[in-house]
Symmetry: C2
């Protein structure tokens, strides 16, 4: 047993008070081939495989500190600075902590190499976790994907967890939030649905290609105004599975083909093929929501106007230069290539203008390029024909980003748990 | 040959100048199980059967006069008072005239019984047709269904056409506009897709039950504001057939079952079953439009708010009291039962109010009952929770109607072609 190698000083009174902590930054991901429908609710497995692009976590991310100490009396969780009551009873949080701990190994002092917590000792320590997003949680930008990926990654670093097979940590993140498994990898990712194993360990994420493979990919995210309350993804999915006559056909017949097309497009850097299958699959996902009873609407008239303008733009260009995709909300994610990103940005700002003087685009350099870009008059004319009337505040904010890596370990200076008290230090601005 | 029985005076100079005319009023119909997708474009046959309810033509109708005379030098058509240039070359108009004429028989003087036009003589006479709708053509209320049903019915009366099998005239109306075949019958109707015969004579309408079978059925039609230009049904269908991965599955697997459910509900006067399958099929039709590439949107945010309120209303009632259905546009048709119609009307007017003082509801008696109806406060509260904010002009007008008969022959005083000149007399108001 590894406990025999245990450092003596760590078990004395002082050692008992040590707070072990690790901080990570984890990315969001936006699906191109959508996940919609659970095969097993307890295992949180999907009825179809899916594909996504992991976004650059320097633009949008969850930052999570996981800590453990003998002096903690229970597991605690803070989200965006607020403690979640009874978090330790939450099934999802519980699964992430317990499953990651099952992969624990000895924790060693990085300087001396001496063991500070033995593999077997972890079960006797409670954890404190603090997590926050660098973007609005309510904005529908896959905050739970980033959040659960960050949780599992932070716990994995804390527990010095070792995967017994590639992707095992993604199977744990999956139990927090399905799409979180894809945020465990950077670049171009697949979530294999699995279904062959009773323990669902074959329902995991795989990297199709890393973020360096297709560096020209850009994403412009339009945060669309929406006063209505959304149907949660979990509720929506279960209603769709129960009532949509289309969904089973989609999962069984249509998606397997689309996953092949999407991954081939990733590997061949074929934006035309990627864009088309991405748009079609977004539409089919929302189509399935509409085929649900009662129907679920995630897109609104603003979302639909974005779709119209993107189609007009591509028709005008004679090629696919932009591809929209919408998750369970009205926000548009527009994938494009670096060479068209300024044109696309200018087109969007022309039709979805900001209140004058307001910070509107996440990236200042991009915003400046967009501001000075002269749109083709013919393009503006055909876009106007869609009936879209430029209106301020229909889009609240635009993020401009690219593909990025999976979860990244940060230094102790980025921790949002106090290493002395074990309490949250993050205060929302 | 029947010409031997010919009345002498009808072939002299005066007789040559006779204008034979017939006028009919034909109803619209609103599908419960939708038609979307053509199996054959030349034959205008569908990829699936459909069901509809024929609406009372005293509320919404097309009125068409068909006339024929030796003095007419070409076939002419007036729509809503305006002559259609080169109408005689129009494929759809041509099909209706030529196919109905093929079923012609001797025309006899109603008083004397003497033959005024022989069966074989019809091909030597040109026709003048004038047709108008009693409701806005552009409002998306199945004006073409009423229009082509009225055309074929008026021509059939004019030519004294005799069907060689039941539904033959509906096969002709089908060639004008697919859904027009269903307007050839009153009450509760099916359009059998056919597909066994090369001449498509098996793609025809059948009456499932007449309008007297379920007299409690009511329809409240909300004419919804929409600034955007629609995709025409014909274009939309062909794009859906070409690109939607869902549509073939719908036509082949889902619709046959739904037609059975719908017709059983008609026959058993089962509003719960009828309402549910009607709402689901409307949603699936619009779902299919969204699965089309590029996607087609017929409903807008106002339409969607109506859907939400109808679901809330039914949930509140603990039974289905109203069922929405939407055709290729944003207008809502709400089916209900007589006993709930005032409550439903009051609920709709509460959330889609009219400009004060404007005539807003087609039926004055109904409008008065609605105005004095006191909505349950609990119902208003749950409907408010949908997020719908009452806004004038979101709905422009409400029609209140019921199920009615098929095309009805009108007296000569209702003709909109002058019996002396053979020219249109209808002037739009």
């Amino acid at each position: 047993m590894s406990s025999t190698k245990r450092k003596f000083t760590d078990s004395n009174d002082d050692g008992q008070q040590t707070i072990h902590l690790e901080t990570v930054r984890a990315p969001t991901n936006i699906a191109c081939i959508k996940y919609w429908g659970k095969a097993s609710i307890p295992l949180n497995t999907p009825i179809n495989s899916s594909n996504s692009i992991t976004l650059d976590s320097s633009d949008l991310c969850a930052i999570t500190t996981a800590s453990a100490s003998h002096k903690f009396t229970k597991d605690r969780l803070w989200l965006n600075g607020i403690e979640v009551p009874d978090a330790s009873q939450s099934k999802r949080f519980r699964a992430c902590v317990d499953e990651t701990r099952r992969l624990a190994s000895d924790r060693k002092d990085p300087l001396t190499g001496e063991i500070t917590v033995t593999k077997d000792e972890w079960t006797t320590l409670h954890v404190h976790v603090s997590s926050y997003n660098t973007f609005p949680t309510a904005a529908g930008l896959a905050s739970s994907a980033a959040g659960y990926a960050a949780l599992v990654a932070a716990l994995a670093h804390l527990f010095c967890a070792e995967e017994t097979f590639p992707g095992e940590l993604s199977t744990i993140a999956r139990q927090g939030s399905g799409s979180a498994c894809r945020s465990m990898y950077g670049g171009f990712v697949a979530w294999r649905m699995g279904g062959e194993r009773d323990d669902a360990k074959d329902s995991l994420a795989e990297q199709v290609a890393d973020e360096g493979h297709w560096p020209e990919i850009r994403a412009l995210i339009l945060v669309v105004s929406d006063e209505k309350k959304d149907t949660s993804s979990t509720t929506g999915m279960s209603t769709s599975v129960a009532t949509s006559d289309y969904l089973a056909h989609r999962a069984k017949v249509i998606v397997p083909e689309r996953v092949k097309i999407c991954e081939k497009a990733f590997l061949e850097r074929d934006f035309e093929a990627f864009g088309k299958v991405t748009m079609r699959d977004s539409n089919q996902f929302h189509s399935t929501c509409l085929d649900t009873y009662p129907p679920i609407f995630y897109m609104n008239d603003i979302s639909k106007s974005v779709i119209s303008i993107v189609h007009v733009y591509n028709d005008w260009a004679g090629e696919i230069r932009a591809a929209y995709t919408f998750d369970a909300g009205p926000n548009a994610v527009l994938y494009t290539l670096e060479k068209y990103s300024v044109e696309l940005g200018a087109l969007m700002i022309r039709f979805y203008p900001s209140v004058v003087g307001k910070k509107y685009v996440s990236n200042d350099v991009f915003a400046a390029e967009v501001a000075k870009f002269e749109l083709d008059a013919g393009l503006v004319k055909v876009a106007e024909k869609t009936g879209r009337i430029p209106t301020v505040n229909d889009v609240k904010y635009m993020y401009f980003t690219r593909s990025g890596p999976g979860p990244v370990k940060l230094g102790p200076e980025m921790a949002n748990i106090d290493s002395k008290t074990g309490l949250n230090t993050y205060i929302p601005s």
